[in-house]
Every structure is written in C-alpha cells, then in structure tokens.
Subunit: 210 residues, 2 copies
C-alpha cells in the first residue's frame, strides 16, 4: 500500500524535529482563531491585523512540501499532519491525539473550546460527529494503516456535550469480509454524551489488489 500511494518515510528523529518546529506554530494559530471569534476591535486595528496575517501567509507559502503522504518509520503509521481531526499541523483540528491499545481499542483525551461551539455552552453536534467518525475510523483501520472508508455511521446524542475536556473511545465489534463494524462514544467527566456505530469498508481497488 505504501508504494501505491507514494509514501515518504520519516525517521523518529526527523518526526520529532518537525513536531517541535511546526506544532507550536499551529498552536499559535489556534489561539488566533479563538481571538477572532468575538473580537470587537475597530476598523484600523482590523486592517492592521489583516495585513499582518497576510504577510505571515506569504512567509509560510515561500516553501511548501509536496502533498505526498508521510509514513512514520518506527510505527508504520501515516502522519496525517494536515488532517482536520488529528492533524498536528491543521489549526482546524483540536487536535485529537489517538492512543492505540494492543487490543486494537483507541482512545483520545482532548479539549474543545469556543471555536467548536454550537448552542451556547455546548459542542456543535457536527463536531461530535467529526471526532467520533475519526476515532471509529482509526479503530477500524488499525491506526489508518489499512485503506478503509466510512460506509455508514449512526450517532445517538444522549445529552448535550459541554465545551471543555472530553474523551473519545472506539473499538472493532466484528469484521465480515470487506466490512468492519466499529463502535465508540464521546464522554465528559459525568459519562457518555454521544454513542456511535459505524461500518467501514475496504474500497474495491484495495480488495482487488489484496
């Protein structure tokens, strides 16, 4: 599979170097997104802010890496640094950091702040769906090492999910041919807020290649 996709491989050392270089840049960007949500600064300040932001965009565009996928040499897992759920380098992502148990179970603890708010004080229902779709997919694909796409997913919202520290968890229930059935949930300190079940499917091209 790695050959088909033209993966680059990154050593643990280079991974750590890039992580410590670009991780804090993205963290700064997340704080800027949060500051922009409710700012009421005047027109001159907005103009000055825009000019500064556009200048930074120009700086970062000076050198861009090709969008080929990168595999971590030691774990064999793709880095997916630009992913909107787990991407260390995508300011849209909380980011979730996924923990993989030997049993195949996955979990992640992360915090959702004001940028993920739907109804006042609560996480947007669609953001709950995003994090659950992602972690069920991680469980179903053994940490994204197998090509599997969401077939169907059902989410049951038991109650509102408050903004703040949360936990997501997922595991494989069973596998039938090309279909993997996964389950999981999102929870706060009081217990489960959203339950999820999904079917993840190996695409035809990967079945043929297998």
């Amino acid at each position: 599979m790695s050959m088909d996709f033209g993966y680059d491989v990154v050593t643990a050392e280079e991974y750590d170097r890039q992580r410590s270089l670009y991780g804090p840049l993205t963290e700064s960007l997340r704080r800027l997104i949060a500051a922009g949500l409710h700012t009421e600064v005047d027109e001159d300040t907005v103009r000055e802010a825009r000019a500064a932001i556009d200048a930074v965009t120009g700086m970062l565009e000076r050198k861009q890496r090709p969008a080929t996928a990168v595999l971590h040499e030691a774990t064999g897992r793709p880095l997916v640094w630009a992913n909107p759920a787990v991407g260390l380098r995508n300011a849209i992502a909380p980011p979730m950091e996924i923990q993989h148990e030997d049993s195949g179970r996955c979990w992640s603890e992360f915090t959702l702040g004001a940028a993920y708010e739907g109804p006042p004080g609560w996480v947007h229902g669609g953001i709950c769906a995003l994090v659950l779709d992602h972690i069920l997919g991680e469980a179903a694909s053994d940490g994204l090492t197998q090509p599997k796409f969401t077939g169907t997913i059902t989410l049951r919202y038991l109650r509102g999910t408050p903004l703040g520290p949360l936990r997501a968890e997922a595991y494989i229930e069973r596998t039938e041919g090309a279909k993997t059935y996964a389950r999981g949930y999102l929870s706060d300190a009081e217990g489960t807020t959203v339950e999820a079940e999904g079917v993840f499917i190996v695409p035809a091209w990967a079945r043929d290649a297998g």
Copy 2:
C-alpha cells in the same frame, strides 16, 4: 425565547457593517490556516511567523464582545457568527451560507479545500457529517429560530466526496410531537455523495416553557 437567552438585536445596517469588517479578516485567517498545513519554511521563519501571529492575537484580544447571542432584527434569526459550520467569524467554518426556501427547504453551496481533507483528495468523512448535521438542524429548527438538538443522525456514504465545490440540502420529512425528522444530502457535480437522516428534538425546558 429571545428573552430567555438574553439575545442582543442587530439592525440590518449594523449587520452589514460588521460583516464587511470582520468577514475579510476571517477569510485572511482561512488562507493562513491553508498555508500552514504543508509549509516547510526553516526555523527562523517559523519563529518570525509565530511572533507575528501572537502579536495579532494580542491585538484582537484587546476588545472582545460578550458572548451573548445576537439576533438579526429583520430576519429574527440568530447570527451564529462563531459557529464552526456557518460562522462568518469562525476560521474553522468553510463557512456554509445557508439559503432558506419558503417551503422550509435549506441549501448551501460552498467549497471545501485542503484543510478539510481526510484520505488524499477526499473530504474527511467527519467533515461531511459536520456539514450535514448542521444543515439538517437548520431545516429542523426553521433556521435556528427554534431550540432543537440532534437526537440521532445516520449518514450513508455512497462514494467519496472530492475536495472542491459542493452542495448540501435538507428538508423536514415529518414532525411528531417534540421530534422532527429531517433528511438531506451532500453532492458534487456528479450527484449525491452522502445521504443523511436525523431526528431533532425540542429540549424538555423548551417544551415546559411552550
């Protein structure tokens, strides 16, 4: 309902002023997020970029508006400018701009770029879930004018959703007491990519108040 939530009301004129002031600021921020995904600039440039970003954050934090909800005077709809799906002022949002037909049907045409990518070239399945949850909720709640929360939602992924221009659409199928059943889909130029059905529920406090 507006009184219970402590809504502020904004005139059409003030709405337009804020929109033209803060909209382009958020657009600049979205371009910066995209530039950060795959930048390969060196350590000195990253340090310079971070310092500039942190300085802008400080500028925007100088004056923040209270997080009370704001109603548009003419339409009676909440602005939800900080919403992660439709928020004009949330750089995480594409943003979707929702069109409301007299029939109650909602639709939106928007573009999803590299920041929303899951598998190479395709929209992340969880982002499809985010935009569909949001537009089904808009249909079920008459443009967010009624308090309704997602009860359950099921998404069927018919095929991959390519990055690029997309359309989402939703409508109410039926209403039974406190439950509203909505359906919708996401599509590209070739047709439907993801189907969704959901149940949206009036919370107990709003039923009691009704």
